[in-house]
Structures are given as C-alpha cells and as structure tokens.
C-alpha cells in the first residue's frame, strides 16, 4: 500500500479529491500513479521556494481594442 508523501498530500486525500471531480481511483490505480504524484508534489514544493514579491501572473491572452 502506498504511503503518504512527505506527510503533505496523503494518497487517501488525493483519492477523495479525485472523487469530487468524478474520477474514481482504485487502490491499484493509485499505487500506479504514485511516482507521478511524487514528481508533482516535488514540483509543487519547488514552487514554494520561489520569491515572487509583487509579481503579477503572466497574461494568457493579448488584450485587444473592443
């Protein structure tokens, strides 16, 4: 059985979040996803390291005269 990752995102909680979205994850499926989840958690942890100050998000689309 997969263990919680860094005590940060327990897989059980992830499973529940997925269910809220209508995605049913079996324990087997969850175990298969664990390496990817670990990678994502590591990516998110790296986001926490960033000093962003007052930086606003990059705009996705260009503004155009209406």
């Amino acid at each position: 059985m997969a263990q919680p990752i860094e005590n940060k995102i327990p897989l059980k909680a992830f499973k529940q979040v997925a269910e809220l979205w209508g995605i049913i994850l079996t324990d087997k499926r969850l175990e298969a996803l664990t390496p990817r989840i670990q990678q994502t958690v590591a990516d998110l942890a790296r986001l926490d390291e960033l000093e962003l100050g007052d930086t606003e998000p990059a705009p996705i689309f260009q503004m155009k005269k209406q």
Partner: protein
C-alpha cells in the same frame, strides 16, 4: 526525375522546378505517395493518407502554374499536417480514441493559408495522444518509428510529422509545440523545426493542449524551407485570441547574410549539466563553428531556469485538465495509460499553484528579457539525449537514471514559458548513428535572426545532407 531525387529536394528547389515547368506537382506528389507506400508501413507516420485528394490538388496546381497563375514557393508542394489541425470534411483525431471519428466542418486558419498558397495537403500525421507527451508511442494508432533506427522513438508530440519529413514522405509538415513538441522530434529525427514566437502563427482550429503554451510551426529538411513556410503561415488572425498584431515580415530576409557580429550566449549552468557526453560535444562544436563564422559567443547565466520545468508542468497540467474535463470524466478508459495518468495527477493541482506558476512565468520572462539585452541569440542542445528505444521509460545520464519525459522536455520548455522563437537544426550524430540537434533561441518576433544563424550553420556544415536509408 527519379523518385529518390524528387523526395529529397528542398521546397525552394522543388518550387523553382515547378515554376519553370521542369517538374510537375503531380509527378512530385506521386513520388511522395510511392515513397509512403514503400516506407510508411515501417515508420507509421501517417494516421490518414489523402491520396486522391492530394493528387487532385497537385493536378490543380499543375494546371494553374501552366496557365501562368503561379502562387509562390509552396504552390504544388506536399505538406503533411499533424493530426490536430482541423481539416474540413476530413477526420482530425488528435491521435486519440476520443476523437477518432471527429470530422471538423472548417479548416484551421493555418491550413486555410497553406491551401490558399497552393500547398498539396498529403495527409494527417501521427502524434502523441492529444499532444500530451514526447515519445509518440501512441496506444491507438501505434508508435511512429524513427527513420534513423526503427527501434527508436521519433520524439513527440509532432513525431509523425518529423519522421515523414526526414524520410522524404513529404517536403514539409506542420507541428505544434507546447513544451518542445516541434523541436524535440526534429532533433531526434534530424530535421529542422521552428517554434515561432507565441501568437505569431494562428492556433484557431488547432486542438489545444495548453492554451497559454501552445505554438504552431513548420518542420522541413532545410532552414530556408522553414522560412518559406513561415511566410505563408504567419500573421494576425482575429479568430485566435492570442494572435499577435505584430506585422509578419519576409522570413527569408537576410537569410544568407551570415552571423558576423551577432552576439550569442551559451548557458552552461542548466543546458549542459544533465547531458549525454556525445550530445554535449556535438553542440559545443556547433557553437565553435558559429564563432568561427564571426559570431561573438560568450557564456551567460540564468539561475531561474532551474524552476522552469516545474512551472511548465504545472501550467500545462492545469490547462490540459481543464480542456479535457468533460471527456475525461465521461470516458477515462478511452485515454491511453500515460495521458490518463498525467490528467489524473493534474487534479492534484490547486488554483493557487496555477496562479503561482503564472506569476513565476512573468518573473522568468522579465529575467530572460534582461539576459537577451546582452545577447541576440542563445545556443543550447535541443535534447540532452539521443532517441531512446520505444518503450524505454528511463535513461541513464551522468550516472543517474531519469524519466525520458523529463529529459526530453528539459531544454525546450523554457522557451514555451517565454514565448521566444526557437529552432532545432541537425548538428551531428551519435556513435549509434542517431541525430543530434542544436537549438537556437532569439528575442520575441526576431525569427529572422534565429533563421539567419541556423542557415549560416547549415550552409557551412553537411549534417542536413545525410538522409536515413530505409
């Protein structure tokens, strides 16, 4: 002219022969169709072949050119489309089971432009499912295979496009690039692939992966051919909210002027620290070649690059999950394993993660713009490794094994974050005979400089002349 010769000509040479009436577009299209019949069973680069349609279109081009209505360098030239460009009346699968019967009722804007320029659309090309991956190991249509070694991946997600161009099944192709999907397979298949500036080429009618990271660009065997294709493809499109109003120039302008005086930067802290030895040597040698041609090459540094992969995967994950939400809830079993897993994990992302990633992106763009005041162009490897074998998930580099996905996206995705133009051109081969790519990136809307440097390298080296034998 023999099939062999017709299938290896550049777009520039082919169009000259068409214009002079020395070769007919029908003859050239037939040669490509023969080549496809002979080789595509091995390559699996096409999802849908448009045999009758392409011959009809070639005949139309032949008659038009004969009657004095020559439309320009793409008139009568065969072009393949990655199977995510909408084609009116012709299925557009996105390499997926979900859309296997989807038939759009209009062409993507860029397809309209190509047809308007007289290009012969020869077929729809294999790709990584929904462009969400870089191996092109497609579970629904089979893997596309690298023309240099059929056991190896083409790279993706525009893998079918690059394999087809490399093997001479068409003269050029269209790809899309969200984290490197034009440049990665171009590098691994030994062709030229340009990701233009974000917004330079319309995305209207192109199946999205990640709206804020998707780019459309040309794939060809020669730098000049990519420039000729850009002359048709680029321009403002009111139907694409991200389309730029920046005027499209002649992308061939000054192509032969050389690189004397151009300032080029090499970022060693990120682009050369996780890399295969042979790839590193080939790319550094390519930098020396450019220096020898008169470029001012210097080492520069950008520490923020270390975060770029995490940021890219967060943005792409969130946007892809949003786009696929309804299909994914209704038919998760119809997605391939890897794409399904990526989407499932994307639901781990919170809204604040996405916003934070977009905030970092703004900061990263600013830092990169500051760096680009010092140099005109950046020189990097396109991929840190050669093409792995199909099915291989992890590769050892520098004594450590890493996922193929991470390695292949590592060096290309920073330029999707910044929206800068970046090209991959052949710059060598590994001892196993697999191509190596040099990536050249420039300031936004300075494709001409990128193309000029790429062309200078191509003209003074022989790598682009090697073609795979199947």
């Amino acid at each position: 002219m023999k099939t062999e010769e017709l299938c290896s000509l550049s777009i520039g040479d082919l169009s000259e022969l068409f214009r002079k009436g020395e070769v007919s577009p029908v003859e050239a299209t037939q040669a490509c169709l023969e080549r496809i019949e002979r080789d595509d069973g091995k390559l699996n680069s096409f999802i849908t072949l448009l045999k009758a349609e392409s011959l009809e279109s070639a005949l139309h081009a032949e008659r038009a050119i004969r009657s004095g209505n020559y439309l320009g360098p793409l008139h009568g030239v065969t072009v393949g489309l990655k199977d995510l460009f909408h084609t009116r009346g012709m299925r557009t699968t996105g390499g997926s089971k979900i859309l296997q019967s989807f038939v759009p009722n209009e062409d993507a804007s860029v397809v309209e432009l190509l047809k308007g320029a007289g290009a012969v659309i020869i077929g729809k090309l294999n790709m990584h499912e929904f462009a969400y991956g870089v191996t092109n190991d497609n579970p629904h249509f089979g893997p596309s295979r690298n023309p240099w070694n059929l056991e190896c991946i083409t790279g993706g997600s525009s893998g079918g496009s690059c394999a087809a161009v490399s093997a001479g099944l068409c003269a050029g192709a269209l790809g899309s690039d969200t984290g490197g999907s034009i440049r990665i397979p171009s590098s691994l298949c030994g062709v030229v692939g340009l990701k233009p500036t974000y917004g330079r080429v319309s995305k209207h009618g192109v199946l999205p992966l990640s709206w804020s990271m998707d780019h459309v660009g040309p794939i060809a065997r020669h730098v000049k051919d990519a420039a000729l294709m850009m002359n048709v493809m680029a321009g403002y499109d009111p139907r694409d909210p991200a389309s730029s109003t920046e005027p499209a120039l002649d992308f061939t302008y000054g192509l032969d002027e050389g690189v004397k005086g151009l300032r080029m930067g090499i970022i060693k802290n990120y682009f050369f620290d996780v890399i295969d030895r042979e790839v590193k040597e080939a790319v550094l040698h390519a930098c020396k070649v450019l220096e020898g041609l008169g470029a001012d090459v210097e080492e520069v540094n950008l520490p923020e690059l270390e975060h770029s992969r995490s940021i890219s995967s967060t943005i792409v994950g969130a946007e892809a999950a949003a786009y696929h939400e309804s299909n994914f809830k209704a038919r998760p079993q119809d997605y391939g394993d890897d794409v399904r897993a990526r989407l499932e994990v994307a639901y781990l992302l919170r809204a604040t993660d996405y916003v934070k990633a977009q905030r970092f992106r703004a900061l990263f763009v600013e830092k990169m713009a500051h760096l680009m005041k010092r140099v005109d162009l950046l020189l990097t490897p396109t991929c840190p490794i050669e093409a792995p074998k199909i099915g291989v998930q992890r590769v050892a580099v520098g004594g450590e094994t890493q996922p193929v996905l991470n390695l292949l996206l590592r060096l290309t995705s920073p330029f999707n974050l910044t929206g800068m133009p970046a090209i991959s051109i052949p710059c060598g081969f590994t001892s196993r005979g697999l191509p190596i790519g040099l990536q050249i990136a420039g300031r936004p809307f300075e494709e001409v400089k990128v193309l000029k440097a790429a062309n200078a390298y191509e003209v003074h080296t022989e790598w682009h002349k090697r073609r795979p034998s199947l």
